[in-house]
């Protein structure tokens, strides 16, 4: 049997990028949370902020490692599996990837060493600065990656000569038309996702009656943050959708399963879109609903899928279902956050079991929503890899199908082991709690300036840190 290298390369890229995006989503949010905790520790001097920062830094280290190694894989897959993409679009997309490495990747990776291992070696202000550097690095990383991806969605500022894209205006390219919608949407998603992880962990501690002070701080911070940001995300997402309608109408048509553009759009709550018959089966709809949402008028028209020939349409099922899952989770998050704030206001946040019990299980919501969102936007762009410019089928490397199939199997095996073990270890760190193995905080105090290399700090001497097999900080 001949395996189709295009299909298998797509499967491999989808698998590796879905695995990867879990970790940046978490580390973008978590690094900001750790930096916040460090700043609050410095401002208030309260120990439990430092303990919490240390606790989350341990978890950050595990997820960051998985994010780094799976991210390196992606930066090489543009060449290994999508060599025509690189040859045709490298002139334009290349610098965005290059800047991501130079501005962001180095900053995060280098200062992470200081954040993880510098507790006793550098003074608090420098440690806090390292946390901020890591958080800024992850944010700038998102900036450049979203810029590159947005350009693939809405390419501008280039010209084609002999089948190769050449840059004309870098500002147009970097700040392309969908960038200002897609960057906030993703960054907000990352922060929101992390706040729900923090909420779940905090709720778990409060319910179990362990690490109570830390647990309560986490629940309060997460609920307060999410109550503002979750509704905000709804607004950003809506604006993003209108922007997509303007630039990629077929993606919206697939999301809405809207076939005939000469009729007002129904809001399809549920259906099984049938691509062959070009219709929706088992549809439950609100008439005119989609027209009102997208055009703000009762009879507003927007393009349907049948307005282009089948070979120019995206697949309908993945964007259709993934979009509904994403929005559903978003609504659930808003409900969770607002309920939490209401209970907090009533003074019952930490005594309401019907709230805390489900809240301890919400950690995965954001991750699934982010993955669904990316499925919507990436499958909705098909059959193009750069919208209207280069087809996915023309971007693939000249490789044999079985060669790619072999590596896909290897990726599934390796990522399966690494991902499940990572989850297991993170869960164990959470179960162990912020107090960890009982150890005194550096009572002798940390130095005001970086210690002279090779010399022990007073804190280190006082502790003479003994347990090499057990990570303490």
């Amino acid at each position: 049997m001949d395996l189709d290298p295009l299909l298998i390369s797509r499967l491999q890229f989808a698998f590796t990028i879905i695995f990867h995006i879990i970790f940046p989503t978490f580390t973008i949010g978590l690094s900001a949370y750790i930096a916040t905790l460090c700043v609050m520790w410095m401002r208030t001097g309260k120990e439990h902020y430092r303990v919490l920062a240390q606790f989350w830094t341990k978890i950050f280290a595990v997820s960051f490692a998985m994010g780094v190694v799976s991210g390196i894989v992606l930066s090489y897959q543009f060449g290994t599996n999508w060599s025509r993409y690189s040859a045709v679009l490298g002139n334009v997309v290349g610098p965005m990837i290059g800047f991501e490495v130079e501005v962001a990747f180095f900053l995060e990776a280098t200062f992470l060493g200081l954040l993880l291992f510098g507790w006793n070696r550098v003074p608090p202000w420098l440690h806090t600065l390292s946390a901020i550097a890591v958080a800024a690095g992850t944010l700038m990383s998102a900036f450049w990656i979203l810029s590159a991806n947005s350009w693939m969605q809405t390419p501008v500022g280039y010209e084609m000569r002999d089948g190769i894209a050449y840059p004309l205006d870098w500002l147009d390219i970097v700040f392309n038309p969908s960038f200002f919608y897609r960057l906030p949407h993703m960054v907000t998603a990352a922060y929101l996702t992390t706040s729900f992880v923090v909420l779940a962990v905090g709720a778990r501690y409060v319910l179990a009656g362990k690490h109570l002070e830390h647990g309560r701080t986490m629940v309060r911070m997460a609920v307060g943050f999410a109550a503002i940001v979750a509704p905000l995300q709804l607004v950003i997402g809506d604006q993003h959708g209108l922007n997509t309608l303007k630039h990629q109408p077929m993606k919206i048509a697939a999301i809405e399963a809207h076939w005939d553009g000469s009729l007002p759009g129904e809001l399809v709550l549920f259906a099984w879109p049938d691509e062959k018959a070009e219709t929706n089966r088992f549809a439950v709809t609100i008439p005119h609903g989609a027209s009102i949402m997208l055009t703000h008028s009762w009879d507003g028209l927007f393009p349907g899928l049948t307005s282009v020939p089948p070979q120019d349409r995206p697949p309908v099922l993945p964007p259709f279902f993934a979009f509904r899952a994403m929005v559903g989770i978003g609504m659930l998050m808003i409900l969770t956050a607002l309920t939490g704030v209401w209970l907090w206001w009533r003074g019952r946040l930490f005594s309401t079991r019907w709230y805390l019990w489900p809240a301890q299980h919400v950690w995965w919501l954001g991750f699934v929503a982010v993955i669904c969102g990316w499925i919507v936007t990436e499958t909705g762009r098909q059959p193009w890899v750069a919208y209207g410019l280069l087809r996915t089928a023309d971007a693939v490397s000249p490789l044999a199908g079985h060669t790619v199939a072999t590596t896909l199997v290897l990726f599934v095996l390796v990522y399966g082991v690494v991902g499940s073990m990572g989850l297991y270890y993170i869960n164990r760190l959470i179960m162990r709690g912020p107090d960890g193995p009982a150890i005194e905080p550096p009572s002798a105090g940390t130095p005001r300036w970086p210690v002279e290399p090779g010399r022990k700090t007073s804190a280190e001497t006082a502790l003479s840190i003994p347990v090499p097999s057990e990570r303490i900080t």
Binding site: G98, V414, G422, Y425
Partner: protein
């Protein structure tokens, strides 16, 4: 101006690759030497000596890859499919040994597995990088600006030789790093290992230096035709002197100098490879000019790089300085 841009970019990518080979080289080398440590305590000490740095070190690999995509997209689009399997297996090996840095501290019953993953992943990644180097030197089949060969074109005895050579070379970097950064049993053993590995590395360098001019005429012409030989004779001579110095410094109980000499040895070997292959980026057919990106792309990225690269080097040096000095047995940065 425009004909110089590819040269500047080749130099930047050359720098990134050299930084990667030296920096990740020593932490991969720690993994390669892992099986020869006797206790978990020793392995903890070895791993702790590189734990704050490995993330940053590996980033140079991303810069090398991304830089190639930015500056020489055509070369990137030919080399990576041609070396598909060694590249992907190297990446998977790096995944295993990378997460082992974290997982090994967290696992209790699974600690031996992550010890193995770290050692095997490091050795396999090093070997694959050697395969990639060998596969590149021996040439890639190109038709109409695209890779036109098979999935196993790289699989030759020469590539395997380069693979083993790089495992030995990274091992040497790792061993001299341990001499510099640790003391006690670990440092003592590393000193002996460094001597053995130095001999092995010299043997591999000698074989490659004899093999490549015999097998590839362009390399023989490059080195042995007049007046080239007058310009290049000092490279092998300097290699011999540096190797001798490294040996002496290992004997006379210097701690830092053997590591520096090993870096010099790597740079000389690297220079030799550059002399053999410049200006080909995809030997034997495509040069840096034929595969270069648009001048507008080169200039845009160059402006950013001129600002960012000194900043990056600045804070990398700062972090190495913070974690300077020797790591004692049983001590971690944790």
């Amino acid at each position: 101006m425009e004909s110089y841009l590819p040269v500047i970019w080749a130099a930047i990518i050359g720098l990134a690759v050299a930084m990667y080979v030296i920096l990740d080289g020593f932490d991969l080398g720690i993994g390669i030497l892992f099986p020869f440590a006797e206790t978990d305590r020793e392995r903890d000490q070895m791993m702790s000596s590189v734990a704050p740095f490995w993330d940053g070190n590996e980033t140079w690999l991303v810069l090398g890859g991304a830089g190639l995509m930015v500056a020489f997209p055509l070369a990137y689009s030919i080399i990576l499919p041609a070396l598909y399997l060694p590249v992907i297996i190297m990446l998977l090996a790096l995944v295993f040994r990378g997460v082992a840095f974290e997982f090994r501290w967290l696992g209790v019953t699974s600690k031996p597995h992550w010890t193995f993953a770290f050692a095997a992943g490091s050795a396999l990644a090093a070997f694959c990088q050697g395969l990639i180097l060998g596969g590149l030197i021996q040439g890639i089949k190109v038709e109409n600006g695209a890779f036109a060969g098979g999935a196993f074109d790289w699989a030759t005895p020469f590539a395997a030789l380069c693979g083993l050579g790089l495992v030995a070379g990274y091992g040497l970097l790792g061993a001299t790093w341990l001499v510099m950064k640790t003391d006690g049993i670990v440092a003592g053993r590393a000193r002996i290992q460094a001597k053995l590995l130095l001999l092995a590395v010299l043997a591999f360098m000698a074989i490659v230096s004899i093999w490549t001019p015999l097998a590839f005429e362009r390399i023989a012409v490059r080195w042995f035709s007049l007046p080239n030989i007058l310009f290049f004779w000092w490279v092998p001579a300097a290699t011999a002197i540096v190797a001798f110095a490294a040996w002496r410094w290992l004997e006379t109980k210097h701690d830092v100098l053997p590591f520096l000499a090993t870096i010099a040895l790597f740079l000389l070997g690297y220079l030799g490879l550059l002399i053999s292959n410049f200006p080909y980026l995809v030997p034997p057919s495509l040069t840096i000019w034929q595969t270069a990106a648009a001048p507008a792309t080169h200039i845009f990225m160059l402006l950013g790089t001129l600002v960012m690269l000194p900043i990056i080097l600045g804070y990398v040096i700062f972090v190495y300085w913070i974690f300077g000095g020797k790591l004692r047995e049983g001590e971690g940065y944790h």
